[in-house]
Every structure is written in structure tokens, then in C-alpha cells.
């Protein structure tokens, strides 16, 4: 492969040939573009796209590629690829559709070069030397843009799930509940604890009920996280009650030998809230509806 700058004498010839290629592709634009669209249709890469979309996109992609070849600048391609990836991912296009489409275009260009220069082997090789790096570069730009777009979406969704997954709720003055649902990993445990500690401070909570009914499994790491959360809350002056430990989890914890002696556990969430009520000096009183009062809670003190 010829490299620009290292091969000075051929530089001028290079530029001339490059220009020739550009002219050639411009001239054959309609023909090659039709070939390209046809091939993609045969391969089923255009599923879900309207006729109009295909026309517009294919013209833009075709021209963008030629600009890259002509100027050696890829900024236009970069911008376009990012936009295309954004739209493509939103519309549910697959990796195969996008990468496959560009690969097909590469083949179409390549074939046309072979046809054009079939009489002159040397010139064909020189043309390929110019054409191939550009084609590869464009392909990698498109692939990267697509992957990056996917990753961006994954990151956004992870963030959303994380935000959703740590609700710390106040049920009474100075009492919080933290229902944990789903798998706890180190990252989530950290976020959970941080959020809980912040809420303890802002709501001036004294008792926290952590309900782990929705946690499918507990290992020594998760148990450790729980112990840490309890300890940290205690440092902030809040008592923690853990509820909803299933028989399986209880077995695991005992088998693992986790030291839960400092942990205050109650069977279910209801029991936990009752225990917390007691600690805070609340007493739930059922009032006869006939008496007309709707105050069910009363602070004893």
C-alpha cells in the first residue's frame, strides 16, 4: 500500500489518479447507485425502509464517500455516520443492515474499478491502492459510529434503571422504607447505600426498614453490603430493620456464616413497619368508621 508523504515522486500521479477515480464515480453515479440498491434489496438489507428513504440515503452516502475519496477528509463521513447510526438504531436497524450496506457499496465501487481498468493491470493496482484505504476507513467510521450509538443507549438505560431501582420512601415522620428488588451487585449496593444515607440526612430519619423480599439470591458479598449499609446508617444515627428474608436466603446466610447478630430482622414488611412504629413510639389504632374520624395513627408521648 502506498503511503502519502513517503513516496514523493508518485504524489502527483497519485493526485491525478485520485481525481480520475472521483470523475469516474461521479459519471457512473446513477448506474452504480442503482446496482448498489439492487444488491442490498436482494440481500434483504433494506427491510423496513421506504422507497423514498432508500433514494435519499443512498444518494447522500454515495456522495459522502466520493467526497472522502476526493479530499481525504473524513469529517463529513463522521458526522453523517453518527446521524445515520442515531436514526438507524432508533428505527431498529440491525448491525448487519448498516455494516452490510456499506460493505455492499464497497464491492460495487471495487467491481466498477475492475471493469474500468481491466486492460491496464498496473493502473488498476494503483487505483486500488488509493481506493482501498478510503473504503476501509469509511467502513470503520460507520461501524464505530453504530457501536458507539448502541453503547450510548445502553449507558442511558443503565442509568435509568439505576435511578429507578433505589427508591427510598418516607412512610411516617423519621421512618423510611427501602424496598430492594432485583439482583444487588457492588455498584448497585454502593449507590443504594449512598442514596439511603443522603435521604436519612434530608428526612432526619431514625428508623429504616429495608425489605429484601424482591432479592432473588444472596451471597456473601451481598450480605456484606447489607451489613455495611446497616453500619453506615447507624453512624448517621438511624436504626435499620431488615425484612423479607426468604427461607432460602436465611439458609444461605446461615450456611455462609455471615455475622448478622447486629442486624435487626423481622419476618415481613408489615412486621418491620410495626417494629419501627414501636421504636418511634407510634401506635396504630383502628377507629370505628361510625365515629367519623379518619385518623388512624396517633403518636404516644
Amino acid at each position: 500500500m502506498k503511503k502519502k508523504g513517503t513516496n514523493q515522486p508518485s504524489n502527483e500521479a497519485d493526485t491525478a489518479l485520485r481525481q480520475e477515480l472521483v470523475e469516474h464515480f461521479r459519471e457512473k453515479r446513477e448506474l452504480l447507485r442503482q446496482q448498489w440498491v439492487e444488491q442490498m434489496t436482494t440481500k434483504g438489507l433494506l427491510a423496513g425502509l421506504t422507497r423514498e428513504d432508500i433514494e435519499n440515503e443512498s444518494i447522500t452516502i454515495y456522495d459522502t464517500c466520493i467526497v472522502c475519496l476526493e479530499t481525504g477528509e473524513y469529517e463529513g463521513a463522521q458526522t453523517y455516520a453518527t446521524r445515520m447510526a442515531e436514526r438507524g438504531v432508533l428505527r431498529g436497524m440491525t448491525t448487519e443492515q448498516i455494516i452490510g450496506g456499506i460493505l455492499t457499496l464497497r464491492d460495487v465501487y471495487g467491481r466498477s474499478l475492475f471493469e474500468w481498468y481491466q486492460q491496464d493491470m498496473e493502473r488498476l493496482l494503483a487505483a486500488l491502492d488509493i481506493y482501498e484505504p478510503v473504503a476501509n476507513k469509511i467502513l470503520s467510521i460507520v461501524a464505530l459510529a453504530f457501536v458507539e450509538e448502541r453503547e450510548k443507549i445502553v449507558r442511558q438505560q443503565q442509568e435509568a434503571i439505576r435511578e429507578l431501582s433505589t427508591p427510598v420512601l418516607q412512610v411516617r415522620d423519621q421512618m423510611l422504607i427501602l424496598p430492594i428488588i432485583g439482583v444487588i451487585d457492588t455498584h448497585r449496593a454502593r449507590q443504594l447505600t449512598e442514596q439511603l444515607l443522603r435521604t436519612i440526612r434530608t428526612n432526619r430519619a431514625k428508623v429504616v426498614v429495608i425489605d429484601i423480599t424482591g432479592v432473588p439470591a444472596v451471597d456473601s458479598k451481598v450480605a456484606n453490603h447489607l451489613v455495611q449499609t446497616v453500619d453506615a446508617s447507624r453512624l448517621m444515627g438511624a436504626t435499620v430493620i431488615v425484612t423479607g428474608i426468604s427461607p432460602e436466603i436465611a439458609q444461605t446466610l446461615v450456611t455462609l456464616g455471615v455475622d448478622l447478630s447486629k442486624m435487626n430482622t423481622v419476618g415481613d414488611l408489615q412486621g418491620g413497619i410495626e417494629e419501627a412504629d414501636q421504636l418511634l413510639g407510634y401506635r396504630a389504632i383502628r377507629i370505628d368508621p361510625a365515629s367519623g374520624s379518619n385518623h388512624q395513627e396517633k403518636k404516644v408521648q
Binding site: R204, R234, M236, G237
Partner: protein, 123 residues
């Protein structure tokens, strides 16, 4: 940096104003342990709100201080540990076993009131 120790009724309040060196901490401990019986105090509150870091030395000193004060016949409450500090403490495995903690000065005072008057200590 000198830590002011204020007498408030039956209680002593040590309000830390800035980051303390190890020597400052030891001096605070000695002062408090001495003053407890000087003033016949029943409770001691140490406010650590301004501390951004609690290392193992600080934790150990506070813990030993609480135990010493208990031997001199008073209760100790550490108040104002920030969420970030609490979290990094448990991550480092630093515990304040046997030491009462509360959210802030107000909570610490009401906690002491209840403890010393034999209440349940909450609410």
C-alpha cells in the same frame, strides 16, 4: 486547632471547627475525659459535622474516648457524621462499636435526654 468545649446543663458539647491533626484529637480526648467529672456532666456530645474524613486513628480515638468517658460515668454521643464519611468508614471497615451516634446536635441532645431519663432513646 483548639476544640471549644461548651457546658450546657448536664452535658458537655465539643464542637469540632476544622480538620484536626492526630495531636489535636488526643488533646480533645484528654480534655473531655478530664472535664467530665470536673463539671459532673452526665453526657458528652462530639460534633464532627465539619470532618470530611474519618481515618482509623480518628475512629479509634473517638471510640476509646467514649469508653473512657463511660468509665467516668457519662454517656457519649457522636453527632453529624456525613453520609460520605459514613460510607467510606464502613468501606474501610472502621466501626464505632459501643458508641452512640446521632444525626446532628439536636438529635444527639434529645437522645441523651431520653437515655439519662431512662426513656427508650428514640422518638
Amino acid at each position: 486547632m483548639l476544640v471549644p468545649i461548651l457546658k450546657q446543663g448536664d452535658y458537655l458539647i465539643a464542637s469540632i471547627q476544622s480538620e484536626l491533626s492526630d495531636a489535636d484529637l488526643l488533646k480533645l480526648r484528654d480534655d473531655l475525659v478530664r472535664r467530665v467529672s470536673e463539671f459532673r456532666s452526665r453526657g458528652v456530645i462530639v460534633d464532627v459535622t465539619v470532618l470530611d474524613v474519618m481515618d482509623s486513628f480518628a475512629t479509634r480515638t473517638l471510640r476509646s474516648m467514649a469508653h473512657m468517658i463511660m468509665l467516668r460515668g457519662a454517656e457519649t454521643v457522636i453527632v453529624g457524621i456525613q453520609p460520605e464519611v459514613a460510607f467510606s468508614m464502613v468501606q474501610l471497615g472502621l466501626r464505632l462499636e459501643g458508641v452512640t451516634t446521632a444525626l446532628d446536635l439536636e438529635e444527639g441532645l434529645s437522645l441523651l435526654d431520653h437515655k439519662i431519663k431512662g426513656d427508650n432513646g428514640l422518638g
